[in-house]
Symmetry: C2
Subunit: 458 residues, 2 copies
């Protein structure tokens, strides 16, 4: 995030214009504007209108193709209203014009099973079969986001014939590669469209195909798909079944969306919430999402309060000890979340490998040791100076300084160790940013602080 987005401003102006035209019933001008505007922008505009205006605009879209594009580009929360309001007939016409992977994804958002089946029945049999097949794969898998439209040819095909085949395949929206398969539909090789048009037409595909094809199995996570596409700079990745038969492709434009969503998911999961909250309209839904995470933190806080209460004698004698609780706990929390974020993001981007646990945790702990020493000394000096003149000012400084050191050391160790440990167990490391780790750090930090302080001061 660097600068104010001029695109956002453009959409805001467009939304205002369209809203005014709707209220003035200026149909001719509206049609003109709609025709000139990209579907992605129309989707954005619709999200800025009230429900009534949004429906009016949607009904003015010239063809079911445009309606399909607009609906695909909308946010899930904004789309919900259309999925509930439009007739099943209308929706089935629109779904038929969508790429099947989008259709499958959006159909899944309809909660009313009967309505969903009604729409599926109204769709062309061929389309609805494909959609139902996609829906048989788990959420967030390669199978669910793949597009079953691709161009596959036998290896004896000539380049010129392959190009003629491409001309026929008008349904296939994005062609970058021609896949070469054997009689069993197994994937043998791949040729880029560019290579295809730059060789003499009589060249045999087998002679120019690349046999080292990077592919992904249908049940694999969409994040693995994104990682492979990013690593090998692919424009599309073939999806195969357990027998290595080609069943679909995932194109890079879908991968771009996956990457955006997964990054957002990672960030928000670390603070105990979900992407849904960004666009969800009702505060009630947000409250329900955050409730459990905050409960864990709340419970941890109550445990910490019990730990502190255990040292109430020390606090009664040296009330300044209480004053330094937030800074000691807070600095532990800060360095802990830094270590956790680096570890989680390092794992997510494949730059940190989980078999390097020891060296990574050691490095983070060393960083915690040094920064803990530095800020511990600073806090000790500040503590001693601020309580100068009182008895035990120096000992007090030593106590808060050592308290901070132990809190930061502990936090950097746990912050780096926990995500790696969770990852090793096959769990999502991003939850380590969550309340379990942070409140553990809080409780242990505060216990260490008071143990050290009572040992020195009492």
């Amino acid at each position: 995030m660097q600068r104010i987005d001029t695109g956002t401003r453009r959409i805001a102006i467009l939304t205002d214009t369209i809203r005014r035209l709707i209220h003035r019933h200026a149909t001719v001008n509206l049609v003109k504007i709609i025709k000139k505007t990209h579907a992605a922008d129309l989707a954005n505009v619709i999200q800025g209108l009230n429900e009534n205006d949004a429906l009016i605009l949607f009904e003015m879209l010239p063809t079911p193709e445009v309606a399909a594009d607009v609906l695909s580009e909308m946010e899930e929360s904004a789309r919900a209203n259309f999925l509930e309001t439009l007739s099943p007939e209308r929706l089935s016409t629109i779904f038929q014009e969508m790429s099947t992977d989008d259709a499958a994804q959006i159909l899944e958002e309809i909660e009313d099973e009967e309505r969903k089946n009604q729409i599926l029945e109204m769709m062309k049999e061929e389309d609805s079969d494909i959609v139902e097949e996609l829906l048989s794969y788990g959420e967030n898998t390669a199978g669910r986001i793949m597009n079953p439209d691709f161009v596959a040819l036998p290896k004896a095909t000539e380049a010129g014939d392959a190009i003629r085949e491409l001309r026929k395949a008008s349904e296939t929206e994005m062609v970058f590669y021609v896949y070469v398969t054997n009689e069993d539909r197994r994937l043998d090789g791949v040729i880029s469209l560019r290579d295809l048009v730059t060789v003499p037409p009589e060249t045999i595909l087998q002679d120019i195909m690349n046999t080292e094809v990077v592919s992904v199995e249908a049940h694999e996570d969409q994040e693995e798909v994104a990682r492979l596409v990013a690593r090998y700079n692919l424009l599309a990745i073939p999806v195969v079944d357990a027998e290595r038969r080609l069943i679909g492709i995932v194109t890079v434009d879908d991968v771009v969306d996956v990457m955006r969503d997964e990054a957002t998911e990672d960030i928000l999961k670390m603070v105990g919430t979900t992407e849904e909250e960004i666009t969800a309209a009702s505060p009630l839904r947000s409250i329900r999402i955050r409730l459990p995470w905050l409960f864990v933190a709340w419970f941890g806080g109550v445990v910490a309060s019990r730990v502190i209460q255990h040292f109430h004698e020390a606090i009664g004698q040296v009330t300044a000890l209480a004053a330094f609780i937030p800074v000691v706990v807070g600095m532990g929390g800060n360095i802990g979340i830094q270590s956790a974020s680096i570890t989680v993001r390092g794992l997510a981007t494949n730059r940190l490998e989980s078999h390097h646990i020891l060296s990574h945790v050691a490095k983070e702990t060393i960083i915690g040791l040094f920064l803990g020493l530095l800020y511990g000394v600073l806090l000790g000096v500040a503590g001693a100076l601020l309580s100068w003149g009182e008895p035990d000012a120096v000992q007090f400084g030593v106590a808060v300084g050592l308290g901070m050191l132990s809190s930061m050391l502990l936090a950097s160790f746990l912050g780096s160790f926990m995500p790696l440990f969770l990852h090793r167990l096959g769990l999502d490391p991003a939850i380590a940013g969550g309340p379990f780790v942070t409140t553990t750090i809080d409780i242990l930090g505060v216990a260490a602080y008071f143990l050290i302080a009572t040992a020195i001061l009492l």
Copy 2:
């Protein structure tokens, strides 16, 4: 992040194999493996080897093209060693084989200006001119990441001739679009390669070109490039100068890298560190990166301690007040970082618009109010029960409950307001996750807590 990455394991096994072969001087087998392995994987392997083995492997790469690919795919920190060790002659040969945008980016990493100029001088004049031109654009701009190799033709060209032109343009690695420009090199339209091969060869480009071209100016931020490519599902976006002359293209594979980097940057900026830390070898560098952020937090903590010290009488009388500091401050911090994360990510993904400040902040504040009430009541009950039997147990419960409510209310307001405010000022909202906001929340939260508590209890 969902499951253990099998790709990582494969690279680990490959790295072990290669390491063993290097130590056994098994050159024949090494060459065989290198030939079969993708450059991106070789880059990963090299990063897992020690400096000496890494150099041996790098020197075995069959051609400068492969060396260029491997060097491009490596992490900046791993690459540094090669940039320092290899001779300027060797490096210039490698840079010549790179796409010019990669060459420019990697050359910038060489700190020794003399060495950098030496390499530039040794490169072919044509290549080094382009690299120097790219370097004239600011970091993280469209101009810096664009590729100046593209196919642009006059609108009177026939489709068949256009395909013949493509065959000649062997330098251009990724062609998806043919751009149509006028005599002044101004961008008039665009045609996808797919449309080009599926029309009769005698079709005139003007008749099939799309005139609504989404383009970006060279000085714009790479994040804007990524946003446009994602929004309009593009495979490449043309980069134009102030006169709308076509000067380069940014391809989607580079955008995928930008998106990954920007997401990581956002996450890590929110906790006061940078991407460099993930791969940087030395803890010292990490310490320098985190030092200033932690200093702000430290200073805020000391201010908070002064605020608490101000209420030392209250603490002396009711030591249990101190015990609840972490939970009151912590829950404020939790909900504050939730609100901030949602706001920052909503802005980054264009789903939250900064002119909706009021409604967004109101929503977050309502969430803070409800969750504050809920956890305030819970904490009040817990506080009263835990100090049951002592005088003023009920008042104590009311005090800590109200303290929590005010802390959470304040935090959700500031957490959502600050990023929007920073964004409005043209600053990066991600820094709102940082210590300025969190320690402000801490200080105000603790002050509110003690003001309420002394008013009720003393």
